[in-house]
Structure formats: structure tokens, C-alpha cells
């Protein structure tokens, strides 16, 4: 039996929540970054699920816009990783740390 839309959405929501929880809880910026990517993946999953069940009668939506967006998201995520990691590397070179608690020179 094929899973229904709700189940996909549940999984994607869970993924999203896990990612978000990771962002909130992990101290290592790299892991936080991974969690962020997970959130994007969760969004991708719902996009595809919505596309697949979007027509109301259980059939896919016409056209492939959703997939296009998914590809864009993946591409953007990749770019984000590239930029992000380089920033993190620069940070590490300057501060010798990748822990978020150490980033507290500005406040108030």
C-alpha cells in the first residue's frame, strides 16, 4: 500500500524539526550547518510529496515545477555549503575554534 500525503508530510515535518533542534542544540558550527542542510532536505521532501499528491485525486500535478525548485534548492544548498565552509575555515584560522559559544564578541 502506498503511503499517503500525510505520512510524507509527517516525515518531512519530523526531519525539519530534527534539523531545527540540531541547530539549537549542537555546539559545533559544522554540525549546525549539517542540520541546516537537513532542514532544506525536509522542505524538498514535502515539495516532492506535494507535487506527487497535489492534484486532489491522488495524481501528480501537471508539469515539473516542483522538481525544478527541488533542484534549485539542492544547488543553492551546495553553494551555501561552499560559502559557509570557507567562512568557517576562515573563522577557524582566526580564532582556532568552531564552537558557537566562542562567538560572543558582539552583544547588546
Amino acid at each position: 500500500m502506498m503511503p499517503s500525503l500525510n505520512e510524507y508530510l509527517m516525515v518531512s515535518g519530523l526531519l525539519f524539526a530534527i534539523g531545527f533542534a540540531g541547530v539549537l542544540m549542537r555546539r559545533n558550527i559544522i554540525i549546525i550547518f549539517m542540520c541546516l542542510e537537513m532542514m532544506l532536505s525536509a522542505a524538498n521532501l514535502s515539495l516532492v510529496a506535494f507535487w506527487r499528491f497535489g492534484n486532489g485525486n491522488g495524481m501528480p500535478v501537471e508539469g515539473y515545477e516542483a522538481q525544478v525548485l527541488v533542484f534549485f534548492v539542492i544547488a543553492v544548498a551546495a553553494a551555501e555549503v561552499a560559502v559557509g565552509l570557507s567562512i568557517i575555515v576562515a573563522l577557524f584560522r582566526a580564532r582556532c575554534t568552531v564552537h558557537v559559544e566562542d562567538l560572543n564578541s558582539m552583544k547588546g
Partner: protein, 607 residues
């Protein structure tokens, strides 16, 4: 340009001229002022003999309001203007001697001229607005002249006090004028009289209005309870006391009341208030006078007392006796007393001034004595004035006091008060004369006193003549019909004469040969503690309220509301800044929290 308006404006021009051009040259300034007073006196003679054309000038016009500087010449006016210019001229002349060596002579004469202008304005005013304007202006000139020696703390305080107490009276005066204006839409005296004749008004309103207007007189004529400024005003130069605080300005209240007799007649309650205030002042002031030791203060209290007489008499204009209103005859009696009083009281003050001048500015009577020998002209004229004040026939005071008592003769209580006052008057004047002129000198200064120069003697002599003659018909008949005065019942004049003589004798017996006061009544000497009570009241009410207001202002309005809200704002700001902890994950948490809040808001707005 009518004669009246020249009389009005000339002193002002003199004052401005001194201020602008001659203030550096004191003697010239003095002559400018004296000449203007002299010309005014001559013009006055022309005015009172002629038909008396008045002038008018629209001072202020806006909307339906038109306030005029308009002159009105009636019998009262003529009598009063003569008093003002005649006494004024004499005081000017006297001042030439008295103020000869004063450093600020120019300022003094500017003040005198300004006063002459203001006083003339009151006298010639045809409406309340104009009268109020000049009413205030005499207050200022009085302020300037009392405070002539402003370096003295007492003089500075006295001038301030005089002005402020007068302002309190003026507050009532203005309120009364406004009430009348609100009811009738008129401010001119003739207009008001016509309106009151034509229409009927709420008597309560008229009574209130009259009482308020009377407040003005209470202030200016120093009636109880606003009498406190006048004794202090003796800090000014003595000629000023003679002119302003004896003969003219303080009488302005009586003059004003006499002018509005038509209103007093319509307001019986107010009239009764006026009578009683006048009588009370007369008695209280006389009692206080008996225990003073400063020669000018004695005369000041005497002035108060006499003003009380006049006010009482004017108040009787509204007295109803057996169905008839006494009317104008009573106020005429008051004005008649004003007229005679102006001469003998100015005489007494100038005489006192001469004595003080001779004794090198010594004012304590217990340091004088035996001056009759040393300065006979002064002494004799002073004694004439005393006799007139005591009401001895046939001097002027006798006639006028007679008229006043005749107005009061149907009110037993006030009649008795009047009689007591008459006795006290004679008593304290006799006390004064006995101590100052008889006996032996009690100090070096008084022992070496010499007669004053001619320029000061001359006014004394002229005024003495006035004190003797002004009570006779020929001297007042030209502005006041003797038939319009109240007629005393049978023995009243005789009784008054006896009382006067008794008072003089009593004073002489008690004080002959004494070196210090045998009678000590602390209450009288301390003026019934009224100054102290007022001081307390001012401290308590005015300053207390002021500090309370200041506290409220600083703590509540500025502190709590204004600065408090500023504090609150910046406090909340700091609190909000606290959210910005700088930690990335707390930022992410707040981010998420924000989303939760928003989604929560969405769900609740959907109900």
C-alpha cells in the same frame, strides 16, 4: 486740547522730559517738575471757574469693546482736582527744601510728576476702565516713591508690600468692574447710572459687584483688612507721605466710592459692609495710633482712622432710614471730610517732615521735645492742624466731622464708634503735640533744631490757612451745595466739640512732662498683631502652596510623568537589548520562538 487734558498730560510730559533729558541735572529736573505742578494748579483754577470742557480719546477698540480715555468734570471732580493740584504744588515746593541734598533728586521728582499724572487721571476719569488704569498707575508711582531709598531693606520691603496689597484690592476692583460690565455692558459712570435707572438688575449681582469694587477702595484707601501697607509706606520721604499717603492717593478710594454713590444706593448689603468696614478701620486705627512712638506712624494711623470715617460716611449713602435711602448727602459728607482732611493732614505731615528735617531725620517722638520754642512757625501750624483734626470749632475738621457723624446719626452703634474714635483722635494728637512741642528736648538733635527754610515754611502756612478755612461754605460751596450735606440733629455738634476738648485735655494731662509712655497696651502698640498674622498667612498659604506646587511639579508632573516615561522607555529598551545576547544559538532559539508565536497568533485569530 482742552484744559483738563492739559492738566492730565503736563505732568506726564514733565516726567518723560526728566527721564529722557534732564535726569543727570538734578536741580533742573526738580524745577521742571515744580513748574509743571504750578502750571497745573493755575490751569485747575481756570478749570474750576470755567464751564469745564472735557476731552476724549479712544484708547482701545476691538470687536464690541471700546475703552476710552475720557474726561468728566463734575462737582466732585472739581473739588478733588483742586485738592490734588493745590496740595501737590505745595508738596512739590516743600520737597525742594526737604530733598535738597538727596542723591536721586531727579528720580524723586520724576516719581512725583508721574504721580500727579496718575492721580489727575483718576480724578478726571469718566469710566471705570480709565479709572482702573490710573488706579494702577498711582500704585506704581507710590511704589517708586516709597522705595525711593531702595538701598534700605525696610524701604524696599515697604514699597513692595504697598504694591502687592494694592494689587489684592485691585483684583477685587477689576472683578467688580467686570461683573458690572457683564451685567450692563457699560463702564462709564454716566452710562452706568442711566442703565441702572432704566433697567432693573438682580440685586445680588449688584451687591456682589459693589463689594468687589469696594475691595479696590479697601486696598487703595487702606481699610481693614488691607490697611497694613500704609504705616509701612512711611518709609518714603515725608513729602510723599503728605501728598500720596495722606491727602490724595489714599483718598482716591473714597473719591471713587463717592463717584459711584448711585450704585451704593442700589446695593444696600454692600453699603452696610462699607459702613462697618469704615467704622472698624476708624476705631482700630485710632487705637493703634495711641501707642505709636514714630511721629509719621502716628499720623499714618490717624490717616487710616480718618479714611475710615470717610468710607463709613460714603457707605451710609445706601443706609435706609424709615423707608428713605440716605443717598448722595451721606457720600457728600464723606467727600467733604476728604476735602478738609486733605489740607490738615497734608499740613500735619509736612509739619512732621519739617520736624524730622530739623531733628536730622529723627522720627521717634520720645527723642524730641520743646520744639515750640525752637521752631515756632512749624509748631503753630502743626497745632492748628491738630485742632482741625480733633474737630475743634470753627476749624475745618469740625464741620466735616459733623457732617460725617450726622450721616451716621441714625445708626447708634456706628455713631458710638464714631464718637469714640473722635475722642481717641483728639487724645493721640494731643499726646503727640505734648511730647514733641512741649517739655524739654530729649535728645541732642532736638535740642539744636532750628526753624526750617522759607521754601518749607511757606507751604505750611498756606496749608494751615486751608485747614482753618476749608470747612466754611465759601471754601467748598462752589463744588458742593451745603444743603446736600446731612444735617446733624440738635446737640450732635456740641457733643463732638466736648469730646474733642476732652480728648485733648486727657492727652495733655497724661503726657505732660513725661519721658516715657505711662500707658502700655501691647496689643495696640503691636497693631493687634495683624502684621504677624499676615506674615504667617503668607508663609503658610502663599509660600506653602508655592512649595507644594513646586514639589508636585518636580515630583509628579516632571518627575513621575515626564521623566518617568522617559525612564520607562529607555528601561524597556535596555530590556529588549538584553534579548540580543550575542550567542548564535540563543538567536536561533528566539528566531524559532518568533515563528511559534506567529503561528500561535494565526491560530488564535482564526477563531
Amino acid at each position: 486740547m482742552t484744559i483738563a487734558s492739559i492738566i492730565l498730560l503736563l505732568p506726564l510730559i514733565a516726567a518723560i522730559a526728566i527721564l529722557l533729558f534732564t535726569r543727570k541735572r538734578a536741580t533742573l529736573s526738580a524745577y521742571v517738575s515744580v513748574i509743571s505742578a504750578g502750571v497745573c494748579f493755575l490751569l485747575t483754577l481756570g478749570l474750576i471757574s470755567g464751564s469745564g470742557e472735557a476731552g476724549s480719546f479712544t484708547w482701545l477698540r476691538v470687536g464690541g469693546l471700546e475703552l476710552k480715555i475720557a474726561l468728566e468734570i463734575t462737582g466732585l471732580t472739581k473739588g478733588m482736582i483742586l485738592v490734588v493740584t493745590a496740595v501737590g504744588l505745595l508738596v512739590h515746593i516743600f520737597s525742594l527744601g526737604y530733598m535738597k541734598d538727596d542723591a536721586a533728586k531727579a528720580r524723586y521728582f520724576t516719581g512725583l510728576s508721574l504721580f500727579m499724572f496718575s492721580m489727575t487721571g483718576i480724578v478726571l476719569a469718566d469710566n471705570f476702565a480709565m479709572m482702573f488704569i490710573f488706579w494702577e498707575l498711582v500704585g506704581v508711582s507710590s511704589y517708586l516713591l516709597i522705595g525711593h531709598w531702595f538701598q534700605k531693606n525696610s524701604a524696599a520691603e515697604a514699597s513692595k508690600k504697598a504694591f502687592l496689597v494694592n494689587r489684592i484690592g485691585d483684583f477685587g476692583f477689576m472683578a467688580g468692574i467686570l461683573l458690572l460690565w457683564g451685567a450692563t455692558g457699560e463702564v462709564s459712570f454716566s452710562g452706568l447710572e442711566q442703565v441702572l435707572d432704566r433697567e432693573t438688575f438682580d440685586p445680588a449681582l449688584l451687591n456682589w459687584a459693589m463689594i468687589c469694587i469696594f475691595c479696590g477702595a479697601v486696598g487703595k484707601s487702606a481699610q481693614v483688612p488691607l490697611h497694613v501697607w500704609l504705616p509701612d509706606a512711611m518709609e518714603g520721604p515725608t513729602p510723599v507721605s503728605a501728598l500720596i499717603h495722606a491727602a490724595t492717593m489714599v483718598a482716591a478710594g473714597v473719591f471713587m466710592l463717592a463717584k459711584v454713590t448711585f450704585l451704593i444706593i442700589e446695593a444696600p448689603v454692600a453699603a452696610s459692609v462699607i459702613q462697618h468696614v469704615g467704622a472698624l478701620t476708624a476705631l482700630v486705627a485710632a487705637l493703634m495710633a495711641t501707642q505709636q512712638s514714630d511721629i509719621k506712624k502716628i499720623l499714618a494711623y490717624s490717616t487710616l482712622s480718618q479714611l475710615g470715617y470717610m468710607v463709613m460716611a460714603v457707605g451710609f449713602a445706601g443706609f435706609v432710614h424709615s423707608g428713605d435711602v440716605l443717598g448722595a448727602s451721606a457720600s457728600n459728607a464723606g467727600f467733604f471730610h476728604l476735602y478738609t482732611h486733605a489740607f490738615f493732614k497734608a499740613l500735619l505731615f509736612l509739619g512732621a517732615g519739617a520736624v524730622i528735617y530739623a531733628c536730622h531725620h529723627e522720627q521717634d517722638i520720645w527723642k524730641m521735645g520743646g520744639l515750640l520754642r525752637l521752631m515756632p512757625v512749624t509748631a503753630i501750624t502743626f497745632l492748628i492742624g491738630t485742632a482741625a483734626l480733633a474737630g475743634l470749632p470753627p476749624l475745618s475738621g469740625f464741620w466735616s466731622k459733623d457732617a460725617v457723624m450726622a450721616a451716621a446719626q441714625n445708626n447708634t452703634l456706628l455713631l458710638i464708634v464714631g464718637a469714640m474714635t473722635a475722642f481717641l483722635t483728639a487724645f493721640y494728637m494731643s499726646r503727640l503735640c505734648t511730647i514733641v512741642f512741649l517739655g524739654k528736648a530729649r535728645s541732642q538733635a532736638s535740642g539744636k533744631a532750628t526753624e526750617v527754610p522759607l521754601v518749607m515754611r511757606l507751604p505750611l502756612v498756606i496749608l494751615a490757612a486751608g485747614a482753618v478755612l476749608s470747612g466754611f461754605k465759601f471754601a467748598y460751596g462752589w463744588f458742593l451745595n451745603p444743603d446736600d450735606l446731612p444735617h446733624p440733629h440738635g446737640a450732635l455738634p456740641l457733643v463732638l466739640t466736648v469730646i474733642g476738648i476732652a480728648g485733648i485735655l486727657a492727652g495733655y494731662m497724661v503726657y505732660r512732662g513725661r519721658d516715657r509712655d505711662p500707658i502700655k497696651v501691647e496689643v495696640f502698640a503691636r497693631k493687634f498683631y495683624i502684621d504677624e498674622i499676615y506674615l504667617c498667612l503668607v508663609r503658610l498659604l502663599q509660600d506653602g502652596l508655592a512649595y507644594l506646587a513646586k514639589a508636585v511639579d518636580q515630583l509628579l508632573i516632571d518627575g513621575l510623568i515626564v521623566r518617568g516615561s522617559a525612564r520607562l522607555t529607555s528601561g524597556v529598551g535596555s530590556l529588549l537589548r538584553g534579548l540580543q545576547g550575542g550567542n548564535l544559538q540563543s538567536h536561533a532559539f528566539l528566531f524559532g520562538l518568533g515563528i511559534v508565536v506567529i503561528i500561535y497568533l494565526i491560530t488564535i485569530t482564526f477563531k
